[in-house]
Subunit: 429 residues, 2 copies
């Protein structure tokens, strides 16, 4: 143990930044023992210095976060957020100035991760981001350092607590998406502008990082099909339950014969499986390592302590000199892996059609599906309402996403089909 | 990336050792990229050189494993097993000779972990053991390096795949322990001498390591109450199911106001919880970090690939220079934490009494429980068989283990109680 502290500059003093300050204070002695040296916050920056805070800010203050890159810290912690702007400027400057970086910023790394990792490695600096994916779950370290002997063949995760909370509440209460979202906003489980969460964008950012760690693929949002949960209805959730499934927003990255399949979409996951049983605001990841089998990780993915804890674990790593490449392999070795062509992934599907209850409409739908060689395993049409709208629900056999999309496009154009059909793939949990 | 390989000496070429040889061969290029340098097996040792093996042994051979400590390897991998004998001699010699050590040997570390860690740290050498607890699940690294910011307040795990397989089969088939064990032996899920597994000893070894990582407690088997699963009956499993529980052999280490509570025992775990739903030969661990919440890990805990994968992850850590103390804090800082006094732990209990169905027996049992202030939440007595043996099953309110033990001792001595009563605590899953 050396007495030379690891000097930390902290940009962003919101929930997570405050958590870091508090935990480094409250557990200073224990953490110094773990780190082999004290961890000391020497500088900080936030938007408003005068804002009342429930923790001490007895460090050098900078109104300009980017100035922290030029101070005397060993490591800069970036908790500003945003994929560009001051966050990017700070991280870039800090690395240029020879400072290690810890960040919780998934958007930043999903866009600029490769370039920043190259910059870090040129100077043998750490660029660590445990807090950026699945919060407190140590999945970044697990993929980077542990599940490496046999390679990873697939990663599937519930990576957005807001979406999982909303879907869980929809199942529990039977209420529609918009109502549950409003309540979640009141309770602080969803942001005032929920787009990034419920639209799947946040999940996509995190998935890009997990895919980079698992497959050595440069983070590539462009390669990803992204769908949110706003179109999921209580009816879908009810039918899912009836078939023994739950609807979860999954981030999926899977190596296939056609290339790397990366997508974010609501999926039917069997109840009683690890992912199927993840409720509320929790996050979870399955990493399938082929020969060594699947590994499952679950825990809190957001909030003060889980996220601050992940930041602190990265700081202790750096204090101990565990640097290593950001994504587990040299950044220059990250490759643009060929993407699986859109629609080439295969799975069974849940399909829901809203149709006018007139003779022949079922035959028409079945005919279109048959043309695209989508075969039906089971069907539910409940109640009759001649001349009115009813739902027809089908479960298909395994088929390509492209075939289902093709069939649904022709079905959507049929006279008696009254709303865009809903398609949800069944995925392993 | 340097070209200087990490030179590995491998003692023990059974299932796991063979897996290490095969994976280092098959994935040499990928692993060299992850490790920053090639991983090369330069020497090996096993009991019988002439035994046919399905992998090449084109390295320097030594009939005496301990001789590997004196060769030119950078790191010795100990896969011999056994808590003393050649395993201990090799690890001790290797560290004395300045070689890093990777081992899968939980028995060795549970007995000699502190002394060996001291030896390693004196020379700034790694002593890594990811494979020793929960096989492929990276729980050693998670506790050592990730879940550190807020400390761990409790660890609970299903750490022995053989026991979990047997209990799962007992539930699925309704057959008694002895029969299911015999089948498990035929299928290779249980050893010819199953004592260490089904008696709880193997779980105790692993728990000692997890407790050391989580609490900084020197591994201490003497501080641990250990009970196996041989006394669990299909009837217990049936009642558990009726109450919504499953019986799991848990290793539990929990910080309490009275001290560190460490024990291995069958527990009732609610179905629908992470641990309650772990079936078959899988392992799983819940690490409760207080402020940052519980984290759950599940995966294969034994077998060639999961265990070899854990060994290889340790080797890559060493190749990268990630040394650090074996238990996350300096070995000399590991303390003999005060143990919670025997019986001080509290939980609700499942109790089963085999009694002669005569008037008054229930009143007698209830009376004894009341004397020890054990209060009953619910009771089942199914069927009457006047003059014959029947089972009475009770669920208690939360109470101390000591009180239940005291009450059961007096109840066991009652005239109409025909077998030692069975007590199984309910534990969180």
């Amino acid at each position: 143990m050396t007495d030379r502290p690891l000097r930390i500059a902290l940009a962003g003093l919101g929930t997570v930044g405050g958590g870091v300050v508090k935990a480094l204070g409250a557990r200073a002695r224990e953490l110094a023992v773990r780190a082999g040296r004290p961890l000391e916050i020497v500088a900080g920056s936030a938007r408003d210095r005068r804002k009342p805070r429930e923790f001490p800010t007895a460090f050098a203050w900078s109104d300009d976060p980017v100035a922290l890159a030029h101070g005397d810290a060993d490591v800069v912690v970036e908790l500003i957020g945003g994929e560009d702007g001051p966050a990017l400027a700070l991280v870039r400057e800090a690395l240029k100035e020879g400072k290690h970086v810890v960040t919780a910023n998934k958007a930043l790394l999903a866009r600029h991760g490769t370039a920043l990792a190259v910059l870090a490695e040129e100077k043998n600096l750490a660029l660590k981001f445990e807090a950026a994916a699945a919060g407190g779950i140590p999945i970044v370290k697990a993929l980077r350092e542990s599940l490496i002997a046999y390679g990873v063949v697939a990663v599937r995760g519930i990576l957005n607590g807001t979406c999982n909370y909303i879907l869980t509440q929809m199942e529990a209460t039977g209420r529609p998406f918009a109502d549950v979202l409003k309540d979640a906003q009141k309770l602080g489980y969803a942001e005032a502008d929920p787009t990034l969460d419920v639209g799947g964008g946040d999940t996509a950012h995190k998935l890009a990082l997990l895919a980079a760690l698992a497959f050595g693929a440069a983070p590539d949002l462009g390669a990803m099909a992204v769908q949110g949960i706003a179109h999921i209805t209580p009816e879908d959730i009810g039918f899912a339950r009836e078939f023994g499934y739950r609807i979860k927003l999954l981030g999926i990255a899977k190596m296939t014969a056609q290339g790397l399949d990366q997508r974010v979409q609501p999926a039917m996951v069997s109840a009683g499986t690890p992912l199927g049983d993840v409720n509320g605001a929790f996050n979870a990841v399955v990493a399938d390592t082929g020969a060594a089998g699947p590994f499952f990780f679950e825990g809190r993915g957001a909030g003060e302590a889980p996220t601050a804890g992940a930041v602190i674990a990265d700081l202790v790593d750096i204090a101990r000199g565990n640097i290593g490449p950001a994504f587990g392999i040299p950044a220059r070795a990250l490759t643009a892996l060929p993407s699986a062509p859109h629609g080439s992934a295969t799975s069974a599907f849940y399909l829901r059609f809203q149709v006018l209850d007139v003779p022949g409409v079922l035959a028409e739908i079945a005919g279109r599906l048959a043309e695209w060689r989508v075969s039906i395993e089971s069907m539910i049409q409940r109640g009759r309402a001649p001349g009115e709208a009813v739902s027809i629900v089908m479960i298909t056999h395994e088929t390509s996403h492209g075939a289902v999309e093709g069939a649904l496009q022709t079905i959507a154009a049929l006279d008696h089909v009254m709303a865009p059909p809903c398609m949800i793939p069944m995925e392993a949990g």
